[in-house]
Amino acid sequence: MSAVVKRLLRTTVLTVVLAVVAVVIPNGGVAPTYVTLVKFEHAAGVDTDPDVIWILAVGSDARRGQDPLRSRGDTLQLVGMDTRTGAATAIGIPRDSWVSIPGHGSNRINAALYFGGPQLMGEAVAGLIGIEPDYVMVTTFWGVEQIAKDVGPITVDNPVAFTDPYLKPKGFKSGKISLSGYNVVSFARIRKNLAGGDFDRSANQQRVLKGFQAKAAANADEPGWIENGVLSVMDNVDTNLDPAELFTIAQAVAQVDPGKISTCVVPGGIGNVGGASVVIPSTSTAQRYGDDARADATIKRC
């Protein structure tokens, strides 16, 4: 057989086989191929108890070897979700806010974690905002970094470029930027070069939370993505939630409506107590945020 005939035969057989593949594979299962999707409508919901969940997310300033639950709580975000509506809110609290800490007089709010662990931290926040968190989740710099590595890059909308000579010499550009691993932590941690100091840092932490939420929503359909995310949180966060509760909350996070997310930072002025610079929080505004959001996890205006 000549080479030309062989090649022709080979091509013909290959064509036939590929045609068989094309025809047989789609119809080889139990249903025909569906090529026209007329219209798909969507139903979603998550049953949580209560319907509006409040979680206090605490970033401990513990270093390696220190107990994260007996250090200062430097990142404080009270996060609410209304699973009936898909609304969510985050109320940021500057760490230096001078508040009453039950049983310990007045102090910076971040000291509550050191004095009495997650329980007292939750009580101090409840005293300021007027909402007692259902759950307290405490993590560390390296815990957040590991979670960020596990879930992959997130996108944040950064309003102002900033740098830090120690944490991020090259800085972060303004606009939509992608953050991974260590950069997630440094973006949420840097304070000194921000015009609004701790207030702006708290807002940046909320941008990170929004980035994680968007990531969860985008990947919830991926096989095992939520399940593995929950394992990562279990490995890197101290929490009073059991695995099923964490899973429920993770699914609720994935179903949050991005158009119904509101974020505010408790405002205040700079004060001086015993020679130390502190934030004197606007307690009336803090209480208003709590009153606004308590029932539906929505703050109408900051």
Partner: protein, 195 residues
Amino acid sequence: MRRTPLGALVLALTLVVGLSSCTGDDDDGSGGTGPETGGSDTASGIETRVEVGAVAGKLPKGPARDVAADVARVVDGWLDAAYVDGDYPRSDFGDAFPGFTKDAAALASKQAGLMSNKAVGDQVDSVTATRRVVRVDVLAPKGKAAAATAHVNLVIELTGDQERTDQVRGRVLLTRTKGDWKVFGFDVERGEVRG
């Protein structure tokens, strides 16, 4: 017999065709490639193909298959009660959500046009399932199954005044409490499909 390269190619492709045809892969684009755990008996149409999806945590294959089968049984209860079973034309869908928590059932009832056949039940003479696939991702920290996501792909053919083929696909979310799996949430879409 000497096997030529061409013969090997044909054999390989034939095997691919054969394997693909046998598995009848889910067409939801999510690439369900986990091991099958066998079918789950259903009342009408075809039986459900149950697959083990991703397992987060150290759960051996055997127990994972058992979990998938248990989860699929609950999900099947919903697929039957909401879509496949019942005397059509049918207007009563009050029992469409067995295995759901009370509040999840209430949420589903508010969206019953998608989460059941309520919107078309009285215009339909028969419902036949032509595809039922449930792929189960499992959360099993320390080897103990605590939660699961059931990826559902159901295709039903409706006859009667509403003569059409619908697909119901998406995620059904379950947790296990005291040994029982309960649906606490869902993220499901439904639409008409044409071949």
